[in-house]
Amino acid sequence: MHPLTELACGEPKPTTSNIGEILTHLSLTLDRLIVRSVKLRDTDDQVEIALFGPVLARALLEVAFTSLLGRLDPFRVLLVREFQKQPSYVVDRRSGVAFNWQPDVQGDKVTDLFKADLKLKDVPRALLGSYYQETFWREACQSLLDTVPFHRGADWMSRLRLVDPETFASRARGESERIYTICSKGVHHEFVISPGAYYDKGTIQSLIQRSFELIGMISITANMCETLAFRTPANRAIDLYEEAQRELVA
């Protein structure tokens, strides 16, 4: 398993539990996506880059974030699994419970988080939303910053150290939204003119590199909090984080 995959998906065993089966599937997918992304990043074929770069960069984020959401909120992915196993499930119809970028990752802006008449049904459970910031990310980020020794974590960590735990989710949300939006235009083939001007080699390389770093940032932070299922111990997580950079930084 690629070190970045292990950070994002943990080390699940497919035979021990339903969530283990899901995470194993996601980790195999993420592994393949990482290998293909690196290959594409290093190619000189401009057409390949413009056509497949956005698809791969967006897929990297979707798979890694689904996995992290599954480890934080297993109910969410277990529900999708059960739904997909039903005989009534058909692939040619839009599913109302499928993983969805906006509600599952970004979440809507909430002004008064803990208002007196708050109801559970009104609480969005987006991975990078405000409620996860309050309940999970602040603690995880503080724990990360206190755990990683000064000289460990390499370049990605030196940048992550400058992120204030109070703004962790909004930083990650902003960066993921920018990458996702740029990629979406290529995934949906929104351009009616040649995409070469927008998806040049440098832009795609940068998008793929930013996706790797963002997945690394969110995954290592998540592993620092005991709330996470299949949590990787801190020392192992730091090793994986450094190893991922050695393999992925161009």
Partner: protein
């Protein structure tokens, strides 16, 4: 003065002719990552202190996006916003001046090619003009705005960020340099959603840190590199140590090498490095606070609290310090000024303190820390300890009395920058302005009626060019010095 010495007196990337720029500027692996973000699509705010190398990164990105380079993925336009009228205007006036500057620079760029560009001085017209240019080229346009923020003036930045946001599109990628203290982005600009903030931080933990400073030494100080080193030093460890000591700040590193180069010893050893630190502290770092003061506008009264904090930090005898976040929050502008002048470098936003609570960790400038080392001797042990990065930081807790006497002064809005009223003699060649004005230049300017910095900054280049003994190169030098005086 030899050509090499002349080069070593140039502190700002903008002072180099395009041909020389490549020769004397080197970039680490981390710098390359930043350059690739400047070239790629998407809005970027490049954040870093004085002399951190922001302009060099932008100029390099521009160089790789030359209008006539068919292989380049985009066309780069570099615009320095060091322009006095811009600093003193707001609202529609700011927009008009900004557009005029942008039109002028795009036209100059287009003149080197067969493309056409025209626009009038309104944002809408500029937007259309640039979009049309992009269509002609079938390429993105990358607009690189340098010195968008002036440390003493936050008021006009809201307008700048509005323009930045408006110009950004799928075919126009806007990039701008800002200082760490910039917080006023206006009401329309959301810093986390409308741009990616990239910190220009060179810390010793980054890949290629040591190698970068060796390369710079080799390119800019060949004589220094050829001098023999004492048995306890190697070129790599020396360059890395100097780079770390000045917190990775490029301009300070050049100062350090200049000073080290001037030492008389046959071979360079730890004693020479110690002497360099003492010299830098006395002649460069502490005077820097006085140099910066008149550029701070309404933040001018913050210099004294900044000085008091610096004196406190450097007495702690540790290479880094954790400061409780309530103290940082109360004295934020003072900490930003210290970061800006390179006394401290933020390394962590939040870390738990042994004494309770959480704080920001700052790395301390080792040259200044050396001032409080007993006997001012750089021993082998001290060199070894400071070369490592694993020392526990000192702590300043909110419950302690260390900072309780440091008070925030009252700030008055609308204060004029004091630097503008300073006489042009203050721009004379000196430790502060090593590439400053010569006596003859000052005399010529005074005879022509240019008495202060403001008058010189507002003088049209054609007027200066008509003065006796003044040619194109001298005009450029005058403008660079006055720019450095106001902006750096």
């Amino acid at each position: 003065m030899s050509a090499q010495e002349d080069v070593n007196l140039r502190l700002a990337a903008e002072d180099f002719e395009p041909g020389d720029f490549r020769k004397y500027h080197k970039f680490s692996k981390n710098d390359e990552r930043v350059i690739s973000k400047l070239i790629a699509h998407g809005p970027i705010l490049l954040q870093g202190g004085r002399g951190s190398g922001k302009s060099a990164l932008m100029i390099e990105a521009k160089g790789r996006l030359n209008i006539n380079n068919q292989a380049a993925p985009a066309c780069g336009v570099y615009l320095s916003l060091r322009h006095m009228p811009l600093l003193r205007s707001s609202g529609a006036e700011y927009e008009r001046i900004f557009c005029e500057l942008l039109i002028d620079i795009v036209q100059r760029e287009v003149e080197q090619s067969h493309y056409q560009f025209s626009a009038d001085a309104s944002l809408r017209s500029v937007q259309y003009g640039i979009a049309d240019l992009s269509r002609q080229m079938n390429k993105r346009i990358v607009l690189l705005f340098d010195d968008a923020a002036h440390i003493g003036r936050e008021a006009s930045l809201a307008e700048f960020f509005d323009i930045f946001r408006t110009l950004s599109s799928s075919i126009v990628s806007c990039k701008a340099t800002i200082y760490p203290g910039v917080t006023n982005f206006g009401t329309r600009f959301d810093v986390y959603n409308d741009a990616t903030v990239v910190d220009v931080v060179r810390s010793e933990d980054q890949a290629g840190f040591g190698e970068l400073f060796v390369e710079i030494m080799q390119a800019r100080f060949p004589q220094l590199v050829e001098r023999p080193l004492s048995s306890d030093l190697r070129l790599e460890s020396l360059a890395r140590f100097l780079g770390k000591s000045v917190l990775g700040n490029m301009r300070s590193f050049i100062f350090a090498c200049n000073t080290l180069n001037e030492t008389d010893e046959k071979s360079i050893g730890l004693a020479s490095v110690g002497q360099t630190f003492v010299s830098l502290t006395t002649n460069y770092y502490w005077p820097l606070l006085d140099e910066v003061k008149p550029k701070l506008g309404k933040y001018e009264p913050m210099i004294e609290p900044s000085r008091a904090i610096a004196e406190l930090l450097f007495k702690l005898s540790k290479t880094s310090v954790l400061v409780h976040r309530e103290i940082v929050s109360r004295l934020l502008k003072a900490f930003e000024i210290l970061e800006y002048v390179g006394f401290i470098g933020k390394r962590e936003s939040s870390r738990s303190m042994k004494s309770g609570g959480r704080g920001c960790r700052y790395a301390l400038n080792l040259c200044m820390l050396f001032e409080n080392v007993p006997g001012r001797r750089l021993t082998v042990d001290l060199f070894g300890a400071w070369s490592e990065s694993n020392e526990e930081p000192a702590e300043i807790h909110v419950k302690g009395t260390a900072t309780s006497n440091i008070r925030m002064p009252v700030l008055v809005d609308g204060a004029e920058l004091e630097i503008l009223a300073e006489p042009i003699e203050n721009l004379r060649k000196s430790q502060i302005y090593p590439y400053g004005l010569t006596d003859r230049m000052i005399e010529t300017l005074q005879q022509a009626g240019y008495a202060n910095v403001k008058q010189l900054s507002e003088a049209p280049e054609e007027e200066l060019d008509k003065l006796p003994w003044v040619g194109t190169a001298t005009v450029r030098r005058m403008k660079n010095v006055v720019g450095q005086a106001i902006w750096l």
